[in-house]
């Protein structure tokens, strides 16, 4: 994944005029947008690696915006979704928010409201992706450890002193010290505190494992 991939705004709306006017509006403030006439068309072209956000019409024939959101959720997508709703669609908007939508807007919307939300969604996406990348990096490093080094890492993060580790593993303290230094070096950690934080972050990311896999593939 290229770190500097240009973020895109994906506009999904079945109405041609709404689609192209939204695209032009985004373009006029320097935000590149790509439009899709249906939820299916978006899904067919969906690239999890591509940073950005989705501006999604809630009410579309065939697959609705809510259904698309569900499919994206099932795929563990992290891309923020801003829903566009019409008059009387508030119950749908509430449902979308409950399912993790980033925000929603009622049609017709004030341009500034849309632009503000899009900017915030892109920022959120950027932070999310940076965090996931960082986790992927740490995981890669941990995977590069030898079995013995992993044992040492495990004991280190539990705060065991070298003497105890040496006794537990049946090796000399000197050997433990050498392994310790290798673990710190391979993990790229400059302090024990930093190392512990890295491992904790990794353990937490098990909850968002699918999102992680999506990026780390």
């Amino acid at each position: 994944m290229t770190k500097d991939a240009q973020a895109l705004v994906f506009v999904v709306d079945d109405d041609e005029a709404v689609r192209s006017s939204t695209k032009l509006l985004l373009k006029s403030v320097g935000l590149p947008a790509v439009t899709f006439a249906s939820a299916q068309e978006f899904l067919d072209n969906y690239d999890p690696q591509q940073p950005g956000c989705v501006v999604l019409d809630v009410r579309m024939p065939l697959m609705s915006g809510l259904e698309l959101q569900q499919l994206l959720n099932m795929r563990g997508a992290i891309i923020p979704v801003i829903f566009i709703t019409g008059h009387g669609d508030i119950p749908m908007a509430v449902e979308a928010m409950q399912h993790g939508a980033f925000d929603f807007l009622q049609k017709p919307f004030r341009d500034q409201d849309l632009l503000d939300r899009v900017q915030k969604a892109l920022e959120k996406d950027r932070v999310n992706r940076a965090q996931l990348r960082e986790k992927a990096r740490i995981r890669e490093r941990r995977d590069s450890l030898t079995p013995r080094e992993r044992e040492i890492l495990e004991l280190m993060t539990r705060g065991k002193p070298n003497k105890v580790m040496a006794a537990d593993l049946g090796v000399s303290q000197r050997t433990v010290e050498i392994h310790r230094a290798r673990v710190m070096e391979k993990m790229g950690a400059t302090s024990l505190a930093q190392l512990v934080r890295m491992v904790m972050d990794l353990d937490q990311s098990r909850d968002t494992g699918s999102s992680f896999r999506e990026l780390a593939r």
Binding site: A17, V18, S21, L25, S28, R59, H87, P108
Partner: protein, 260 residues
Amino acid sequence: MNTPAKPAPPVESPTPEELLALLQRLTHVSRLATMGEMAAGIAHELNQPLTAIASYAQACDWLLARGSTDTAEIRDALQQITAQGLRAGEIIRRLRNLVRTPDTARVETDVNELIEELKGLALTDARAHNVRLTLELAPALPRIVVNRVEIQQVVLNLVRNAVEALESVPPERRDVVLRSEPGPDSNVEVAVIDSGPGVDPAIVDRLFSPFVTTKATGAGLGLAISRSIVEAHKGTLRYRPAGAGGACFVLRLPHAQGGA
């Protein structure tokens, strides 16, 4: 209602055949029963060109503010604004055609006859919501000249509103009265009175304005359309609080000689 202790008068259920015949006769009216839904659809449709117009206009503004010299792009957006404005106008024209029929469709008729015809639909609707609907029809009223379907649409819409207004009321106190009576100057009045909470005083002034609604899913066009129909008949449609706290809508129509 003023007679809460009195049991609801027995109403004859229309037979399925009668209902079918009624529905066929009133194809337009059955459409009216869903006037609110239709209006919501139209509101949704109008939102599309309006959204596009707002976005195109703002995009032009941004482009010009940034000193863009891409006049082709700006002109294209301006042409789109024109096209979307026309599209919105077309939707409104369709809406108008929906409520306006030529005067030639007007015939001299008896208001009670109109009410008798829509009674079946109104009763079915009321019963489905556990509402007692009572008809109080004054005899020997002056005749009126109306587009029958349109006026039936208005009356049914008022009954539907009344029925829906009773949702928050316990079933045993859900009453709607549909009354015909002589009005001043030989006019004819049709009143729809419910035992609901009445109209929120905060919106009484705007009650007949388009897009004013108290319903979660309503578009707020039913009363606006109804009033334009009635005014096209040189009549009036007014609201006043009912005695017991409910709502009362009065439709007044000129008698056959006094109207158009």
